[in-house]
Amino acid sequence: MRAFTKHKGVAAPMDRANVDTDLIIPKQFLKSIKRSGFGPNLFDELRYLDEGQPGQDHSKRPINPDFPLNHPRYQGASVLLARKNFGCGSSREHAPWALDGHGFRAIIAPSFADIFFNNCFKNGLLPIVLEEEIVDQLFTEMYAEEGYELVVDLEEQVVIKPNGETLAFEVDAFRKHCLLNGLDDIGLTLEDADDIRAYEAKRREQAPWLFDAVK
């Protein structure tokens, strides 16, 4: 996994609550058997004026001029500002893959849905929870200033605003460790393979019906 340490980038808005993963990446694109290539279809139904299909040339599709991510000022943005309960609904990891594919490295919101939040960390994408009032303030400042940039420092656990003000955020120690070092957590878990085998042996004894029933 790609490491995340410190990132500076233009902020862009997704200014509505309860953004679900169907909205982030519609189902027709889930038919892919790959992990990449979802960027052009991020927020597909909002970005374009037609219905997208897998495999088409998306550069030829009609763009929705009212959708903020299509505005020149947000081109190349890599920090997404969002509202409450971002990423609710389906467990599709295609949602973080699409955000990543479009170039986002961090998402700031007052709250996230559990499965989406977890999926982000597996893909080098950092979801940051800040208080609602603070997120409101960031939206206001971003709208007021073209090219509004934020620095996200994972080591220090702070978001730094253009005026130098720092906003502290929480992150689980384990997830932070994995992100900072770009670690594959399967490898880490397999370091505990003996513990897993010991547990499994005990469970096989206590609940034998759970083993070898399906063959």
């Binding site: 609550a17 609904g89 878990t189 019906w209 399906v214």
Partner: protein, 481 residues
């Protein structure tokens, strides 16, 4: 393991502790996974990851696979098996699951196997999911299996790979929430109405960070199918896991299922499962209470499952909402849905009706819909009524009971087991602007088709809407019958 034996525990606490391999200093834990269900959409990248790293599945007998999202529901297309799938991209995905299962030695119920079905229908139905298990699947509606007294939740594709490679998940313990529904449900009020009412009350993020246990006399009185409907939609309230304590209804359901323990092993299992309930006085971080008598048949009007009202109500007005974000959400939803604030729910006309999905495609759901459809005809204004059984076994049972004939005589279409129009990955979808009465779980923008407008309801309410051409209180039809 950190818990004194005398401490009063919730059902979730017990399931967590039973599966705890190791607690780590950083607050995370390794949790052992008993059953891993996989389908074609969220597994290909996980298998690819295993291949790239040269890893093998830890325990193939813990994995059960079936294709459900992409498989055609149309009888003729389906008859051609994998090669008959018209959409090439879907065909490749279903084929890829097939090849991966063969390569890695995993049991798969293939496209036209008698065991095939929606993964959350076939798990309980075959006994592949059992009380006391941890169950995961790369699908958020895995919470369904919690109805058996299991700890079941959806995971992403990276975790699908992680579970295959290690038989474990890295987890942090969730908080405990009890949703208690006491009293007696009125006639015509179903499990679907109960869970929609719960989501309407606590909101789509109300359960975020929690494992929800559903309890109370109204939940206890539900069949296993009904409990599965309730747990299925825990995720729509933000909770990854929903569950119901084991009781006689659970045991009666599980007994005799193909993969369920038999003979002496059954007795051993039952003895073990008898403790799968919350202890009296166990601590819940949050408790939500509903009175069964106050729950009416529900209809969602907006683009989030929390945007739901009783069938007798009016479409809400943004003017009545003080919170600016919520007000904007209502305005946007009204525009997307093409509805006016203050309009009667019963005045909403339907273009299509969908009866199916992992929420409501079990035999009891089809019986409820058939009871309303019997001897009636779909309204001419309704273009299509799809009835999609959740599994081959459900389909066979329904045909044995003659339900397929009831539907066909009413002008409904009887299809093949698949996820179908719940998420429109196969050919079954809404056209832009079309209103659909749907027994599925999500009314998000575009969920059932680009520009489609979904209204979530119970199977009997969906059948009633198909007959009337607009929403009606199914209780009026049931009284008339």
């Amino acid at each position: 393991m950190g818990h004194p034996q005398n401490k009063k525990q919730t059902l979730y606490d017990k399931l967590w502790q039973d599966h705890l391999v190791k607690s780590r200093d950083d607050g995370t834990a390794l949790i052992y996974i008993d059953r891993h269900l996989i389908h074609e959409v969220t597994s290909p990248q996980a298998f690819e990851g295993l291949r790239l790293a040269g890893r093998k599945p830890w325990r193939t007998d813990s994995v059960v696979a079936t294709p459900d999202h992409n498989v055609p529901s149309h009888v003729e297309e389906r008859a051609g098996g994998i090669e008959g799938i018209v959409d090439e991209v879907s065909r490749i995905q279903v084929k890829t699951l097939n090849e991966n299962c063969e390569d890695f030695g995993i049991v798969e119920f293939g496209i036209n196997d008698p065991g095939q079905g929606i993964v959350h229908v076939i798990g309980p139905e075959t006994g592949a999911t059992l009380p006391g298990m941890t169950v995961v699947c790369g699908d958020s509606h895995t919470s369904t299996h919690g109805a058996l007294g299991a700890l079941a939740h959806g995971i992403g594709t990276s975790e699908v790979e992680h579970v295959m490679a290690t038989q474990c998940l890295i987890q942090k313990k969730m908080k405990n929430m009890l949703v208690r529904v006491d009293g007696e449900l009125g006639p015509g009020v179903t499990a679907k109405d109960v869970v929609l009412a719960i989501i309407g009350k606590i909101g789509t993020a109300g359960g975020t960070g929690y494992a929800i246990e559903f309890g109370g006399s109204a939940i206890r009185s539900l069949s296993m199918e009904g409990r599965m409907t309730v747990c299925n939609m825990a995720i729509e309230a933000g909770a990854r896991a929903g569950m119901v304590a084991v009781d006689d209804v659970t045991l009666e359901y599980v007994k005799g299922k193909p993969y369920a323990p038999k003979g002496e092993m059954w007795e051993l299992a039952v003895a073990n499962w008898s403790r799968l309930h919350s202890d009296d006085g166990a601590h819940f971080d949050a408790v939500v209470e509903l009175k069964a008598e106050e729950i009416e048949p529900q209809v969602s009007w907006g683009t989030s499952p929390e945007m739901v009202v009783p069938v007798s109500a009016l479409v809400p007005s943004p003017a009545d909402e003080n919170d600016a974000t919520k007000k904007a959400g209502i305005e946007r939803a009204l525009e997307y849905m093409g509805l006016e604030a203050g309009q009667k729910i019963t005045d909403i006309a339907l273009d299509r009706v969908f009866i199916g999905s992992c929420t409501n495609s079990r035999i009891e759901d089809l019986r409820a819909a058939a009871a309303v459809a019997k001897g009636r005809k779909k309204a001419d204004s309704v273009k299509q009524v799809l009835v999609v059984p959740g599994s081959q076994a459900v389909k066979a049972q329904a045909e044995k009971e003659g339900l397929d004939k009831v539907f066909i005589e009413a002008g409904f279409e009887w299809r093949e087991p698949s996820c179908s129009m719940c998420l429109a990955m196969n050919a079954d979808k809404l056209g832009a602007g079309e209103h659909c009465a749907s027994t599925s779980n999500r009314n998000f923008e575009g969920r059932q088709g680009y520009g489609g407008r979904t209204h979530l309801v119970s199977p009997s309410m969906a059948a009633a809407a198909a007959i009337a051409g607009h929403f009606v209180d199914v209780r009026e039809m049931q009284e008339a019958a």
